[in-house]
Symmetry: C2
Subunit: 412 residues, 2 copies
């Protein structure tokens, strides 16, 4: 048996470290010698920044803490490998490093961008007949990966969003005058996370009033008009809107603001948020109190409210990746296949990386209402199993305990 | 035995309903006939909008759900009673209603503004020799009440803020380039909540880099300069800043922005946030990625992460208020007296409402570092016992279960 190497890439999730643990533990159980970690993904590998994970994950307590630690334990990068053609030296360098480390399998935990890395390495590996196997482990809160039923990381983010939305709805109702609250949810192109706000509605909660996904064209005037209609009921209103909603001419709603917060040194305009823009429009027109609530990075790092099913599936995807590699397979991404809806049962399978890299899966149009202001019950039914069950944080001195990140700076 | 009445006022907290339960259950246990609730506080009483709480809190399950439900079960108001002089008719009306309902004691759960109501009613009651007793139950996430060691609601908000700050710090470290994250925390005049971000620092977490409270004058240029110094270390930086920080001429930092988001129909300018303004300044100057994170209303409604000590103390304050009233006392506010710091022990006592109404307690200057960029260990030591222990949400179908609010609108 030889060594393996694993990296994490793209935005973190609340369970990305469960997948890392799935790779580490399964590889060790199946007899791997050294499990290396790339620090800051493929970029760290190229820079020679690697770590022997056994030096960092030693005890069962380490493992249970790692599962509960948000953000990528190994750090992340947004680095994309260049085309093979014309950049052979980059690939030669990578495969030389892999050979020096005696690597038999390479695992990358990431989304559709990161799967591009697995695809290119597979292609180059096949070309030079390298024995190294390349397997992708799915991860993204955005749930926009093709083929797989859903992605690890989505369920925990959806659970956080749904629970927080319930609390915001309660809070909005407290006064005896109407308040319009606009919740802005992540997802530039796919509305899966925004749709999760629909889960708030139930026996004990009125739910949000409207939900806007980026899959439909957004009409600002119509939105403001609808708010006016609802305000006639003289009660608080809560609306969920994706950060990625666009108007008919293709501009993001947040780009409609006259105002640019600031221009940074690279010339990037920092735009006001979508929720703030819409809340402003409503306040301007009707003179009511409004609130813009951006869930911001809390959506992807709220590890204190992980879905247990998500933690388990994330771990299993890591484990299944090792199993596939150790069976001699390469060029694959692990996918989740929902075998049964009720009762919910889901198994890990494999798909060709070429069918997943760089492909985005959006919310199907038939799961959104005709007028585009809410989602249908099929979509709620699809998400509901993915937020189930809890994993208790390891509370130490009143706060959830984490592991220190490998690459974290020294104490400040 | 006669009837009592209870109301909730001001901004909600994660444990304001535990105090309501403390009043309800203790009054029932001590033989009260009917426990009335004012819907939307004193304003609801004046409008005749009251409810018999026994009709809504019937079982032990109802009680356990109520404790875990954020926002005020009875609704809230920001209504302040007018001066007695010249507005006798308002007081005559209130005391007439109380007499009709056969009320022997009146309880109001609120902050220093709400205690003004208890003070005025006490004064008028004494003037007309009314037998009704008036007792205040302390509540505010801001922790700015005089005399009491701390206020119910503060501990749970501090726990949420500290836990979330830990997660944000983890998240900020994930990339291989520096990010400056500015967390904006509630508290217009008192920095208690912002100080709670200091609790993030520990064995497993580097902590925030700087903390700015409204108790000190804020210097924007100096802040930007300090960020520049820190950026030389080429790592991610996390800063916590109170929404209420002001510059030397008395303007809020958020008022320095050239830009007004919008002006509402009442002519109120909606200003950009403090964190956004500061993040913009840093991005402009150094061209680094920045993030402005407003914890917004999540700070006061995140009931899924209550501190058990806070839930217990909130309940006890409600109970102690009933005990005091049933012993014939009036014109009091229940306070918490920290008997011992280590081990932490705290008991409910009573204080004259005239010493608490409209008084604001700020963070003592000696608990802030000389240069005003962090807090001292004494402050951490003070807050730490208040975030201790957990209360498990009642998870139903993957989400924390609440009770429906009394006054909530019908299903949407």
């Amino acid at each position: 048996m030889k060594n393996i190497i694993v990296g994490q890439s793209g935005g973190p999730t609340a369970v990305i470290n469960s997948s890392l643990l799935g790779v580490f533990k399964t590889a060790k159980d199946r007899g791997a010698d050294t499990v290396y970690g790339m620090v800051h993904g493929i970029k760290g590998l190229l820079d020679g920044d690697i770590v022997d994970l056994s030096q960092r994950i030693k005890t069962e307590l380490d493992m249970d803490l790692l599962k509960r630690t948000p953000s990528s334990f190994l750090g992340s990068c947004r680095y994309k490998l260049p085309d093979i053609k014309g950049h052979e030296e980059t690939y030669e360098k990578i495969f030389k490093i892999l050979k020096e480390l005696d690597i038999c399998a390479f695992f990358y935990i990431g989304g559709n961008d990161s799967m591009d890395t697995i695809m290119r390495l597979t292609d180059y590996g096949n070309k030079i007949k390298s024995p190294v196997r390349f397997i992708g482990v799915p991860k993204t809160i955005d749930n926009d990966l093709a083929i797989t039923d859903h992605t690890p990381g989505f369920g925990s983010a959806a659970k956080y969003i749904a629970a927080t939305t319930k609390e915001i709805i309660r809070d909005g109702l407290v006064y005896d005058y109407p308040v319009v609250s606009v919740i802005e949810v992540m997802g530039r192109n796919a509305g899966w996370l925004t749709a999760a706000t629909a889960l708030a509605k139930g026996e004990d909660c009125e739910g949000v009033d409207e939900i806007y996904l980026p899959e439909r064209v957004f009409d600002v005037d119509k939105f403001v008009e609808r708010m006016g209609e609802r305000l006639k009921e003289n009660r608080s209103i809560v609306v969920a809107v994706s950060e990625g909603v666009k108007v008919a001419d293709g501009r993001y709603v947040c780009e409609l603001s006259d105002h640019v917060d600031y221009v940074d040194a690279f010339g990037h305009k920092q735009l006001a948020g979508t929720a703030r823009f819409l809340a402003g429009k409503v306040a301007e027109k009707y003179g009511v109190k409004t609130r813009a609530i951006e869930l911001s990075s809390l959506q992807r790092c709220a590890a204190h409210i992980q879905a247990r099913i998500d933690v388990t599936e994330a771990f299993n995807c890591g484990g299944a990746a090792v199993k596939a590699a150790f069976e001699g397979k390469t060029g694959l991404v692990i996918t989740l296949n929902r075998i049964s809806d009720d009762p919910y049962m889901c198994i890990a399978e494999e798909a060709d990386v070429h069918k997943i890299a760089n492909v985005e899966k959006k919310v199907p149009s038939e799961w959104i209402t005709e007028d585009g202001t809410y989602v249908k019950s099929e979509l709620v039914h699809y998400i509901m199993p993915l937020i189930q069950a809890e994993i208790t944080p390891l509370w130490v001195n009143g706060l959830p305990r984490h592991v220190r990140l490998h690459y974290a700076p020294k104490d400040r």
